[in-house]
């Protein structure tokens, strides 16, 4: 009956010099990464010699997307009635969904539909460039309803809470209260050797500091959709005299090592900013239209522009982080379909931009979110839940398919921990593993460094990609 987890807040801290008993220390992952890079012993797959370029784009839907109103059973015999019964006031009419994909394999037999506000995503799915990963969520280990009821299951810390779940999605370290680095950072550290000399980081965030890209040695260039980071007024005419003085301050010789080091770092920061700006400005503007009143589209446009400039930035691997908030629909789902529409439009325009750049096979976009939401309403809206549905878009995606297991929506089933909060049948680790392998990380490094929790679900070294939604030869 007792919860077996080690008592106390052991995980609040980093593990500096002493081994900790049970939990995985994120600092030890980093030091392993550093060791690997220094000894040059990255596995072959991490440092391929091809001319290829690959980029990952994380679209984070902050707040918990109610994804059972995004992708929904629409067959009249079983799926839709179950949905309607479970969702009550927040159920959408059947006509609000467009049937999509094949019927789910027997004995399931249901048909799914995509919210009608997402025509662009539907088109990509039909084209074979997008797929869904269903009922995916944070897990420490596979879990059953019984295990939860008798409190014997090991659960991700802070389950059902926003910030903890966001951290777990971005770090892959669900037993860690204060993870120091994200899986994107760990992945970037393994792949940055493929990139050429540049002051500009391979990781670009359009949404500020995020754990996904943080904590590695390859740094993050953080910018807004409309501005790149630079010193206030640096390029303005009114600043020119100050700029001249600043530049000579930074170019001066310094006896003192601190002065020297700071000057060097600041100079590099300015150079990075300048290099980035120059690369963007000298690249031909992308021709694809983006709806600039769509906040997500604005961010993805900046991503597309940066990808377009990858050559000038000497990049063969890049990661991007964009975010759209407002998904915490406790108060009602009235604006949810429109938000889904916003995502669909932005993703569609982004994919088109990749096509226009002839890079659609080299860029993969994936969604992530804190959690799914309760099937049952709370009155107006829906509350925090667990497993949810995500999608991936890209030319290398094995598109037009459903991965994972779309759960039965009948309340009280074996996955339902209450109110239609489903135990995920696919872990975040399995979802991410496919992406990491596609980016070129070796299976061994995926297992040991990028996703230390993956082994609780899948032997990636023996078994390859857990889900297989990426076409590796693409």
């Amino acid at each position: 009956m007792k919860n077996k987890q080690q008592y106390g807040r052991v995980n609040r801290r980093r593990f500096l010099g002493q081994a900790s008993c049970s939990a995985i220390g994120s600092a030890s992952l980093l030091s392993s990464l550093i060791n690997l890079r220094l000894t040059g012993s990255l596995a072959a797959a991490d440092t391929d010699d091809g001319e290829d370029y690959k980029a990952l784009v994380c679209v984070f839907l902050a707040g918990g997307n109610d994804s059972f109103n995004m992708l929904t059973p629409v067959d009249a015999s079983q799926g839709y009635p179950e949905y309607l019964a479970a969702r009550g006031d927040v159920a959408l009419p059947q006509t609000d969904f467009t049937p999509i994909g094949d019927t789910l394999p027997s004995p399931d037999g249901r048909t799914l539909g995509l919210n009608v506000e997402m025509p662009e995503l539907k088109a990509l799915f039909d084209l074979g460039k997008a797929s869904f990963i269903n009922n995916v969520g944070t897990l420490v280990e596979p879990v059953t309803k019984l295990g939860i009821q008798n409190q014997s299951a090991s659960l991700p810390l802070g389950l059902y809470s926003h910030s903890d779940q966001q951290l777990h999605w971005q770090s892959g370290l669900p037993t860690n209260r204060s993870p120091l680095n994200g899986w994107g950072a760990r992945l970037a550290d393994l792949l940055d050797d493929l990139n050429g000399e540049s002051q500009v980081s391979m990781n670009v965030s359009l949404a500020g500091t995020n754990l996904f890209q943080s904590g590695g040695s390859s740094s993050v260039l953080s910018r807004s959709a409309s501005n790149i980071p630079e010193i206030r007024q640096w390029n303005r005419w009114v600043y020119r005299h100050k700029r001249a003085a600043q530049e000579s301050i930074l170019d001066a010789q310094y006896q003192n090592a601190f002065e020297r080091s700071f000057a060097t770092s600041k100079k590099a920061a300015i150079a990075a900013s300048a290099e980035y700006r120059a690369a963007l400005e000298s690249q031909n503007p992308i021709i694809t239209e983006f709806n600039t009143s769509n906040a997500l589209a604005r961010q993805l446009k900046a991503v597309a522009e940066t990808i377009s400039a990858r050559g000038l930035l000497s990049k063969r691997r890049q990661t991007f982080f964009v975010e759209l908030g407002g998904w915490d629909h406790h108060n009602g789902l009235d604006d949810h379909p429109a938000m889904l529409g916003q995502v669909s439009e932005a993703v569609g325009q982004f994919y088109q931009a990749m096509v226009d750049l002839e890079l659609e096979n080299q860029v993969t976009l994936f969604t992530a979110s804190d959690f799914g939401r309760t099937l049952t309403p709370n009155g107006n809206g829906t509350d925090h839940a667990w497993g949810g549905n995500q999608f991936v878009v890209g030319g290398c995606v094995d598109g037009g398919k459903f991965f994972g297991d779309y759960p039965s929506l009948d309340l009280g089933n074996d996955l339902d921990t209450g109110r239609g909060r489903f135990i995920p049948t696919t872990s975040v680790d399995e979802y991410i593993a496919d992406l990491a392998l596609w980016m070129g990380v070796s299976a061994t490094n995926v297992r040991d460094l990028v996703l230390p929790n993956l082994s609780n679900f899948h032997d990636v070294v023996e078994g390859g990609a857990p889900l297989g939604f990426m076409k590796m030869d693409g």
């Binding site: 080690q6 926003h162 309760t374 009155g379 107006n380 925090h384 921990t417 909060r421």
Partner: protein
């Protein structure tokens, strides 16, 4: 004689009255030798240890309070629970009613802050505010919870909501 009888009655009533109030002893809410209510002895028989009177039992829903004070009492009791059960964030606690059950003793320590029976607690719904509407436990992080009452209009997420963090 009559006066003596009245005084005797008063004394007897006084004793009964006193024994109904749980004066905390210096040993804290340990195994209670004098069960104050039937429900609390029922808890004891399940092995649940009621920790003694606390802001929730003393104030929640009581006549001289208000919703804000109710939620603050709730918050402080949950905070106390989190400091005694230090891996609170490792449990399966989506919100109301699970957190309430946890506080009623459904935890590995068998500690209880909230009695099994309470006029504002409904099985399967959980804790209600003093207007009879369910309290919403909005989990922000592993430990941080935002407690929301629908307020006077009985509807959540309207301007008259009472919110306590």
């Amino acid at each position: 004689m009559r006066i003596f009888g009245v005084v005797a009655l008063l004394l007897i009533f006084g004793f009964i009255f006193r024994s109904r109030i749980a004066w905390p002893t210096s040993g804290g809410g340990g195994v209670i030798t004098e069960p104050e209510t039937a429900t609390q002895s029922a808890e004891e028989s399940k092995g649940v240890r009621f920790l003694g009177e606390n802001p929730f039992t003393l104030e929640y829903g009581k006549s001289n309070g208000d919703i804000r004070r109710d939620l603050e009492a709730l918050r402080d009791v949950v905070t106390n629970c989190q400091s005694l059960i230090k891996n609170f964030d490792a449990f399966h606690l989506p919100g109301n009613p699970e957190i309430v059950r946890f506080l009623q003793g459904a935890n590995p320590e068998n500690l209880a802050w909230i009695p099994e029976e309470h006029s504002l607690i409904k099985r399967d719904i959980g804790l209600l505010d003093r207007n009879g509407n369910p309290v919403f436990f909005h989990r922000l992080s592993g430990l941080q919870i935002e407690y929301r009452s629908a307020g006077a209009d009985g509807k959540h997420w309207t301007d008259d909501d009472v919110i306590v963090r």
